[in-house]
Symmetry: C2
Subunit: 317 residues, 2 copies
Amino acid sequence: MFEVIGWDEISRVLPTLDLVGAIEEGFVAYSQGNAHVAPVSELRIPHGELHIKSGYISGDSSFVVKAACGFYGNPAKGLPSSNGLMLLFDSETGVPTCLLLDEGRLTDIRTAVAGVIAAKFLAPDPIFAIGIIGTGTQARLQAQYLLKAKRANRLFVYGRNAHAVAVYQRDMSREAVEVIACNTPAAVAANANLLVTTTPSRSPLLNFDDIAPGTHITAVGADSPVKNELDPAILHKANRIVVDSLQQCSAHGELKHALAVGSIPPERIVELGDVIAARKQGRISGTDITVADLTGVAVQDIEIARAVFAAVKAMRT
Amino acid sequence: MFEVIGWDEISRVLPTLDLVGAIEEGFVAYSQGNAHVAPVSELRIPHGELHIKSGYISGDSSFVVKAACGFYGNPAKGLPSSNGLMLLFDSETGVPTCLLLDEGRLTDIRTAVAGVIAAKFLAPDPIFAIGIIGTGTQARLQAQYLLKAKRANRLFVYGRNAHAVAVYQRDMSREAVEVIACNTPAAVAANANLLVTTTPSRSPLLNFDDIAPGTHITAVGADSPVKNELDPAILHKANRIVVDSLQQCSAHGELKHALAVGSIPPERIVELGDVIAARKQGRISGTDITVADLTGVAVQDIEIARAVFAAVKAMRT
C-alpha cells in the first residue's frame, strides 16, 4: 500500500521523534562505509534548479530518493524559494512505499539536527550563550533545535538587514530566551561560546581574532564551492575540525577554503560519524577551539524520511 | 493541488492519447537541442538497482523526474522485476504537481511508441508481415502498438523458450492477427519486412545474410554496453541507421558494437528527431535496408508523463 504523507501529518509526528539518535546512526553508517549514495544529479532549468539525492544504508528495509528544488524568483511570487519531496522504496523489491510531501522542510530540519549533534559532541560545557550569524531559515531552526537540546538562556544574533534582525528577535523571543542583536559578527563571537554560521556569504564573516578559546563553531552555510563564512585561519588554528563528509567538505565546505591556503595536519580533521562512534576524539579540553563543517549528506535524508514514515504509519493504524 | 495518479486512471486515459504525436515532438526537441536532461543517476543496492532520469523541454510548463527500479529476484516472489514512478514539477516555481504511480509501465509504453515512430518513418510500404524476436514485455507491446498503427495481418515470432513462444502466440492471437512461430531468427527475417528485436541478448541474433532488401529493423533490446542483437555487418551495410540519441547509441546501443569493428560513414547515421522534422532523410528507396537503434531518452518520459497528467486532470474535472 503506497502512502502519501503531507506536511500536516509530518509536523504532527516530528515532536515525537528521536531525530538526534536517528541521524547520529546515519552519520556513523556513513563514516563506516555502510551507506551507498548515488552521485547528486542536477537539472538546471530557466527559473531554477533541481537536485536529486538517493541513498541506502546497509540493512535498511527502505532506500530513499530526495528531490529538492531551488527557484530563486519564488519569493517575489509569495512562494518559498525551496521546495521538495522524499520517496521511500522497499529495498527488497524496489516497490515504492511512500511519498513525503515535506515541501523541502525535512532538509532544513535534518540540517538543524546535525547542528545539535555537532554541539552535543563538540560544544564546551557550560554553554553560556549561543551566537547565530544570519537570520534566515537555518538561523531560526539551528537556534530552536539547540535551545531544545542545550541549556542556554541567551541568544546573540548578527544579520546584515536590520529589519530581518528585528523580526528574528521578535520570533525567537517566543522560545523563552533573551535575544540580543549585535552590530558585528565579532560582537556575537565575543558574547557566546557556541556559534553557528548560517549565511550564503562568499567572504569570511568571522576572523580568528574574534574567536575566544573554548569556542565551538558550527558552519552550515557553505554548500557550494564559492560560499565561505569562516576565515581560513580559524580552521588552521582550530584544535579540531569535524566534517560531516571528508570528501564533500574538501570539495565545497569551509575546509576547501582553508586547504586552499595551506595544508592542515590530517589528524586534526575527523568525520562526525567517527566522533559519534567514539572512534575519533572531538573536543579534548575546555579551551579547545573546535569547528564543525556541515555540508549535508544523504544519510541525513534517509534517516529523517525513515523516522517520519514509521511514525506516520504507526499514527494512522 | 498535488495529484496522485495510479495505474487504474492512467490505463483509462492511455487509449485517448496521441502518444505518437507527443513523443515525436520530444524526439524533435531532443535533436534540436531544446531538451535539458540531467545525467542518469544510478544507485546500486544488494537486491537491485535504481535509475533516476530527469529532464525539461524548453517552454514546457512542467519538468519530469523518473525513478525506475530493476530487482531481478522479484519474479521468484511473484512480482515484476521492473517498477517505477514519474513526478512532474511546475517549471516556473519548482512546486511538485503530480505523481504517476505507473509501476514502470509508461517506460515500456513509450519504448513501444518509439518503435511505432521508427516504423512510420522507416518501414517499407507495404508491410507484408511483422517479425518479432523475443517474447517478453517489449515483444508484446511493440507488436500491439505496431498492429494498431500499421496494416499487417501476419506476425512471425522467434523465442528461445518454446513455452514462452506458445503463450505469446495465444496472447497475440487476440490482436486479430495470425501469429506464426519460427524456429530461428533467420526464419522470422525471411518472412517479414518489418523486424523488431526485443531481447537482452549479448550476441547477435540476426546476421546480414538473413536480411532481405527492403527490410526495416528496429532494435530496442540494447540498453547497456554489453547487449547486442544485430550482427555489426547489418549496420555497416544498412542504407540508413536511425538512432534516438547519437551520444547514447554510440556508447551503448547496437551502433556501439558496429563502430567497434570499423567506421561507418557519418552521413548514413541520423537521429530520429531529425528524420521526424524532415531535416534528414530516412528510407529513400523501397529496397533500402534501414535500422533504428533505440536506447531510450528522457524526452520520451517527459512527453508521456505530460500527456497522461493532462488527460487525467481533464477526466477528473
